[in-house]
Symmetry: C2
Subunit: 343 residues, 2 copies
């Protein structure tokens, strides 16, 4: 692949690909041509990138011809149908959907964790789930101490459900706040996006229930973390909960290590991890609101657990639209570009 | 103690004791005289209970004379000073503060869990922390299977910080929602109540940090649960997080049992527990908003964990002002009344 490259973006009308386009601008991503694709509903719209208007085109046979990288963020069905065609046409298809993540024939990449697994010829590369990415960035360097088990409880923002999720929360809150006394007078308030309203509430279900009756979001964290960290036998469990935060996911994480290590050693390991900001002061922490718009993953409250043994805990926060989605995709493409420049 | 009794309420101008007064009315609690006490700031105010106005009096020597039960909900300092005087004056002092909870000379009571430990002569009886109460109601019957370890991540409403917490969230949201595009434009927004704003955010710190740099809320859950369940060696850890929900605390709970049991056996045990509503359908769950205003603790998503072994998980929700505070205090008093009627 030579720089600058020809880029396609599929699904160019959502909140994640809006972030993609913004990143293409702000990171000086070396693109030559840019092609935007979307469902028929959005055809004819134009999107402005680096001062130039690009039309939103429909997906069609040969539409990927001449493209080097195509970013997909239109959901599983579109990716299943079109990502193989992009790869067939000679492009790296960087796919933000869940369609190929657990396929043994495709790599699931967080560049600063398992970037060395990047393929060297055009194919589909899977971009992990948002809540997985920030978790593996925080856990990766702890593998040196023997990672035995992980429990993660998530606090996930409505931006994870895209612009409709944010609009839904905003409308529900505005309605609730009209009640001067008790804003939650309507206890059973429902939501088209979340089922039960997220306003002044929290919901222990993200995605759909699978055959084991875990949420799809929980199984994504569990399975993708094992794959990315290359720890197929890791004992990991996740409890995923939607809360009425706007953007940025947080995770309360317990982990058990094989080795007997000090806090200084754990902090030193975390400090070596690219893309991770470590707050060493025990009383310091960052919140989703503070991480919103930032590129790194933040880890704080790293401390040995009161239960003793080799049990530890930490608080992990990141922008789920940036590092949790679009930024990680762009970083995959940047790493591909670097590799080709190196060789 | 004879029915009806003379009742005192100390701290009669906060959100918990407002709930106390409402419960005294709605539960037909058999009180004869009612005396309301508060700090000097609130003196001269009147509160209406069962159609009668009661003046708010100051605390003074002999003010508890003739009272059978005095409810305290004015914080640790007031309780430390005045609860012993109430007991000295011949009243059961039911204390909602943390002042006496971990004292070996005082009982820490959730009636449907360890009501048999209620003392039979006037003394101070401690009412546990809100997030502890709902947890022990859910865990109690599981002791039969040998409770080995518990991990709890909490999702706690702003009502836990009283009326100022609710007012703070309301004002912050109203301000944020004036921004038509991005309500969290002010990323570093602070709060006088929560430190960092709870609006569209979550905060991994409730209470103050102790010498181990765990939150006081975390240590309350850990220590009080061991005491109430009479399991001093239970391996229990808590991660407590404030979220922008209005009222009602939720808990994601992992627990490990000694025995090899089926889901049917676990549900059967939970079903035997007074005060606990069990949602058996695997896909069913309740949220803080739905529990707000209700008396029971709700447990759902009870299932064996994907990590195998004897590991389980569940979702526990309750109204932190009702079962988590005032209702539990009233139930302690009702149990005292029952005991005296039985004998």
């Amino acid at each position: 692949m030579k720089s600058p490259i020809n880029v396609g973006v599929v699904g160019a009308t959502g909140v994640v690909d809006e972030t993609f386009l913004r990143l293409l601008e702000t990171r000086d991503f070396p693109f030559k041509n840019l092609k935007l694709f979307a469902s028929t509903r959005s055809l004819g719209q134009k999107r402005r990138v680096r001062g130039q208007d690009y039309p939103v085109e429909g997906l069609s046979e040969d539409c990927f011809k001449g493209l080097d990288v195509v970013f997909f963020s239109s959901g599983d069905d579109i990716s299943k149908e079109w990502a193989p065609q992009a790869a067939q046409a000679g492009a790296y298809a960087i796919d933000n959907s869940a369609a190929f993540r657990m396929s043994s024939r495709h790599e699931l990449i967080v560049p600063e964790v398992n970037g060395s697994a990047l393929p060297s010829s055009p194919t589909i590369i899977a971009n992990p789930n948002c809540s997985t990415i920030q978790l593996v960035v925080a856990l990766n360097s702890l593998k040196d101490f023997g990672l035995k088990s992980v429990h993660v409880a998530s606090y996930q923002a409505v931006s994870g459900a895209g612009a409709p999720g944010q609009a839904d929360l905003r409308a529900a809150l505005q309605e609730d706040l009209q009640h001067a006394e008790d804003p939650i007078t309507e206890r059973q308030k429902t939501s088209e996006v979340f089922g039960k309203t997220a306003a002044f509430n929290c919901i222990p279900k993200i995605g759909s229930f699978d055959e084991y009756v875990f949420c799809s979001e929980e199984m994504k964290i569990i399975n993708e973390t094992k794959k990315i960290l290359a720890l197929p036998d890791l004992k990991i469990s996740a409890f995923t909960v939607r809360i009425p935060s706007w953007n940025g996911h947080a995770e309360a994480v317990w982990f058990e290590l094989e080795k007997d290590v000090t806090r200084a050693q754990v902090l030193e390991a975390l400090g070596r991890q690219d893309g991770l900001k470590v707050l060493e002061t025990l009383t310091a922490f960052e919140t989703p609101r503070e991480l919103s718009g930032r590129n790194e993953v933040s880890v704080s409250r790293v401390q040995k657990d009161v239960t003793g043994g080799h049990h530890w805990r930490m608080w992990v926060v990141a922008d789920n639209l940036l590092k949790g989605a679009a930024l990680n995709g762009i970083q995959i493409a940047e790493k591909l570009l670097d590799s080709s420049l190196d060789s």
